[in-house]
């Protein structure tokens, strides 16, 4: 018997606005607890909500990028429930007239391109954060995140495999991050995903009983949770030992299993109703076109530009446009150093491996592009050799040193004085007569050995080209 796994996703993405959705507080991540808080977003009475226009514009942009219909008269609703991280006792969200409907995006997996349709995108406010303090056995509330604008992107149950889910999420992240709609960082919670999953016999038109999985903190966890949960469903269908019930389940990353959180019968009645304190937002054609005009280059556009205009190999372009952060670093560096291939090499070969050693993903790399460009210039005009440059790059990455000053202070300038280098080369050859004999007997590989020794003696500063020429000259004499 073969089975089909049916998956729909609810993806929450924090919008990159300066301020919160209904008040003027900063929406920045990483502030001290309750630093970005005012009477309105901490639930005090008497502060009417005022809609952040920028959030609506980012919602429109998300709709345009996902080929959605944009709602012309958008309204907000109140969703009522009690929880300490929700200071007003209601969340302002969109149920009746969400900003976008009926969109789609194309995803690419090993088995080709497939179109995934979206039910809707709606704007809503985020809740705060509860932290349990074991020292004083108290729950502490941080309202910094309260009322930070989110969009929730709800897909139809079009996805079939964890590979497709990861491709879908990657595509969304690429679209949204390149457009500046969100930075989409799962580890910071600016991108979150709930998975709705059910299993049916292949060919069956009827959907199976669905479960919803929450607490998914990475693409990897999402894929693992889907694998686990679909197997659980299939086993239940095959053996009949367990009955799948409609419920919400939590994924335990450590155990790699899902656990029941609450059943359908425990589902809260959220008593949604139209928010009477917010006027409907009218979205005109002009407004939509104005937003469209400000949309920056998509990852796809940038890939085309890098390969066609800058003649980068597709491999390089794909890596650079696979991350909004890398492509920003690339562009910013290009402003100061006009050698696309060289920049691509430095990013892909050096920067990524340094970041990896520092346990940082490509989206977390922070580097001063001006210093990065200076370093490449120093290398290009032969002030320093490549090996020294690599070492300085680590210093730039870790400590933010200024490459020019660093080279000066540490006297790392490349040594091109032929007479001086010839002395070193002679010394090395004299000290390693055995290897010289090997060379004479036809072993070319010892050249590398000599170069290493010479570099050592010159503290890595020798011009490799001159060193090679000198070696050949002296050895072949």
């Amino acid at each position: 018997m073969s089975y089909e796994v049916v998956i729909g996703l609810e993806v929450h993405v924090e919008l990159s606005t300066q301020s919160k959705l209904f008040c003027g507080c900063s929406a920045m991540f990483g502030a001290d607890p309750n630093e970005n808080v005012c009477p309105a977003c901490s639930g005090m009475p008497g502060m009417p909500a005022v809609t952040n226009k920028k959030a609506v514009e980012l919602g429109i942009a998300a709709g345009l990028l996902t080929n959605s219909e944009i709602t012309r008269v958008m309204t907000f609703d109140k969703k009522n429930y009690f929880y300490p991280d929700l200071p007003t006792g209601y969340q302002i969200t969109q149920l009746f007239a969400p900003i976008c409907k009926n969109g789609w995006i194309d995803i690419e997996t090993g088995s080709g391109v497939r179109r995934i349709t979206l039910k809707q995108i709606h704007i809503e406010e985020d809740a705060g954060k509860l932290v349990h303090d074991n020292r004083c056995d108290a729950s502490l509330i941080d309202f910094n995140r309260t009322s930070v604008p989110l969009i929730e992107i709800v897909s139809n149950p079009d996805l079939r495999t964890s590979e497709e889910v990861v491709a879908y999420l990657s595509k969304l992240r690429l679209l949204l991050s390149f457009a500046g709609i969100s930075d989409c960082k799962m580890q910071e919670g600016s991108m979150r995903c709930d998975v709705n999953i059910s299993v049916r016999r292949s060919g069956s038109g009827k959907l199976g009983t669905r479960t919803e999985i929450k607490n998914l903190n990475s693409f990897k966890a999402i894929a693992r949770a889907i694998e686990y949960e679909s197997e659980r469903h299939i086993e239940a269908l095959e053996t009949g030992c367990e009955t799948i019930i409609q419920e919400t389940r939590r994924f335990d990353d450590g155990k790699g299993e899902t656990f029941s959180m609450r059943g359908k019968e425990d589902a809260t009645d959220y008593r949604y109703f139209p928010n009477p304190e917010l006027m409907p937002v009218c979205i005109s054609d002009e407004w939509i076109e104005a937003v469209r005009a400000t949309l920056p280059e998509t990852a796809q556009d940038k890939f085309t530009r890098l390969t066609k205009e800058l003649n980068l190999p597709e491999y390089d372009a794909k890596i650079i446009t696979g991350s909004r952060n890398l492509s920003v670093i690339f562009d910013e560096t290009m402003q100061r150093f006009h050698n696309p291939k060289e920049i691509a090499n430095w990013i892909i070969v050096e920067l990524l491996s340094i970041a990896k050693g520092d346990n940082k993903g490509e989206d977390d790399i922070v580097i001063d592009e001006k210093k990065f460009a200076t370093l490449m210039k120093l290398c290009e005009n032969k002030t320093i050799n490549r090996n020294v440059a690599k070492k300085i790059l680590i210093k730039v990455f870790e400590e933010g040193v200024d490459p020019e000053r660093y080279v000066e202070e540490h006297k790392l300038g490349m040594v091109t004085d032929t007479a001086f280098l010839e002395n070193i080369v002679r010394d090395v050859l004299l000290e390693n007569e055995k290897s010289v004999l090997e060379y004479k007997n036809g072993n070319q590989k010892v050249i590398g050995f000599f170069v290493g020794k010479i570099m050592n003696k010159s503290q890595g500063k020798a011009d490799p080209k001159i060193v090679n020429e000198l070696l050949r000259k002296l050895l072949d004499d």
Partner: protein
């Protein structure tokens, strides 16, 4: 002074004093909206009306007592009029500001021989007003003289970017219209009125050309208002949970206990009734037959008003029946967001309603009949 919860005289001797209801927030001062649930809460800011009063040379005299969240007194009988009405009636102040979404203050003002101006919904900022029913909340003016009251209204009215549901007009000029006013005197409402008010409305209407048909949906106005206001109140009162500010129960064993005990001890009966009603009409089961129906009704009620055929609507302030039944006569202004003035006339209570932002029609009527 029994009408005040707290005095907070801020003015100099030559300034006109304005009392404010305890639902209007004044920086650094306690504000309770008449509820124990807000005991201990200090306002972090000044309501926009406070800053405008002060900028306009008026001084705040103190905060007046009010029914809990200004609710209709259905469970707890009110033994005396609100502090705002009594303060003005006794001559302690010339004006008082309050939120009269339920219409009770409108009635009390006339009963005490003074007047009330309920401005068009969305003309006076509600920044710093403790919300009850957002779609009806509106700060109005208790005054002895309506013309003077409009003088104060021009000081506090006008768009405020901190309130997201306002008309864009920066300011308003209130002056009588140079036209013959036509009045709509609904027969069916008059029939239900108490005799004094019926006589008063008829005496008032004799000054104007009249249209006298029936007021559509009169029998369900109070129901629609009650359903919608309770729903909104139930959401607006959710923030009072004992977690962040205001009253918190002494004893509780867990989070639910904190909520239940705090809210049980903190709210009065009318608030509890509104919470239960509001939660019920918003529940899955009752949303469509109750809440949604009331919303639709509100729309058709608004649409049924024909301000092309008349300028103002004359209504009594009291009809026969209990507090709930009588609220029908006050529901129209709240449901349709209409401006309204109330006062006593010929021994009865009357209210005059006009189209949104047509306060000048009200002023015209008042000037004509009090000349």
């Amino acid at each position: 002074m029994s009408y005040y919860i707290s005095g907070c005289m801020t003015g100099k001797n030559d300034q006109t004093l304005v009392a404010i209801e305890d639902s209007i927030m004044q920086k650094g001062r306690p504000v309770t909206a008449g509820s124990k649930i807000l005991s201990g809460f200090t306002s972090p800011l000044d309501a926009t009306v406070i800053s405008r009063l002060e900028a306009g040379g008026y001084a705040v005299s103190g905060k007046t007592k009010m029914r809990e969240f200004g609710l209709l007194p259905l469970c707890e009988e009110a033994c005396e009029a609100s502090g705002a009405v009594r303060a003005v009636a006794d001559g302690a102040v010339s004006f008082a500001l309050c939120n009269d979404f339920s219409g009770v203050t409108r009635r009390e003002a006339a009963e005490n021989g003074i007047c009330y101006i309920h401005p068009t919904y969305g003309c006076v900022s509600r920044y710093g007003l403790i919300p009850s029913a957002c779609s009806m909340d509106q700060i109005g003016i208790v005054c002895r003289d309506i013309v003077e009251g409009f003088g104060l209204l021009s000081v506090i009215a006008g768009n405020d970017e901190k309130d997201g549901a306002m008309y864009p007009d920066k300011s308003y000029v209130y002056e009588p219209l140079d036209k013959k006013i036509k009045a709509f005197v609904p027969e069916n409402v008059l029939t239900a009125a108490i005799p004094e008010d019926k006589a008063a409305v008829l005496a008032l209407s004799s000054h104007f050309d009249g249209v006298s048909t029936e007021l559509a949906y009169f029998d369900v106005l109070n129901k629609a208002q009650y359903i919608l206001s309770c729903a909104e109140i139930s959401a607006n009162l959710s923030r009072y949970d004992g977690v962040k500010f205001g009253f918190r129960a002494d004893r509780y064993n867990n989070l639910d206990g904190l909520y239940v005990n705090t809210r049980t001890q903190g709210f009065g009966l009318d608030a509890k009734l509104a919470l239960i009603m509001g939660s019920m009409v918003l529940s899955k089961e009752y949303y469509t037959p109750c809440y949604e129906k009331a919303l639709k009704l509100r729309r058709v009620i608004k649409d049924s008003l024909d301000f092309k055929s008349y300028d103002v609507i004359l209504l009594p302030l009291r009809i026969t029946g209990g507090a709930y039944e009588s609220s029908a006569v006050h529901a129209l202004a709240a449901l349709a967001g209409l401006p309204c003035v109330s006062f006593s006339y010929n021994g009865g209570g009357v209210q005059i309603l006009a189209a949104p932002k047509n306060e000048n029609a009200l002023l015209t009527v008042v000037k004509a009949v009090t000349r």
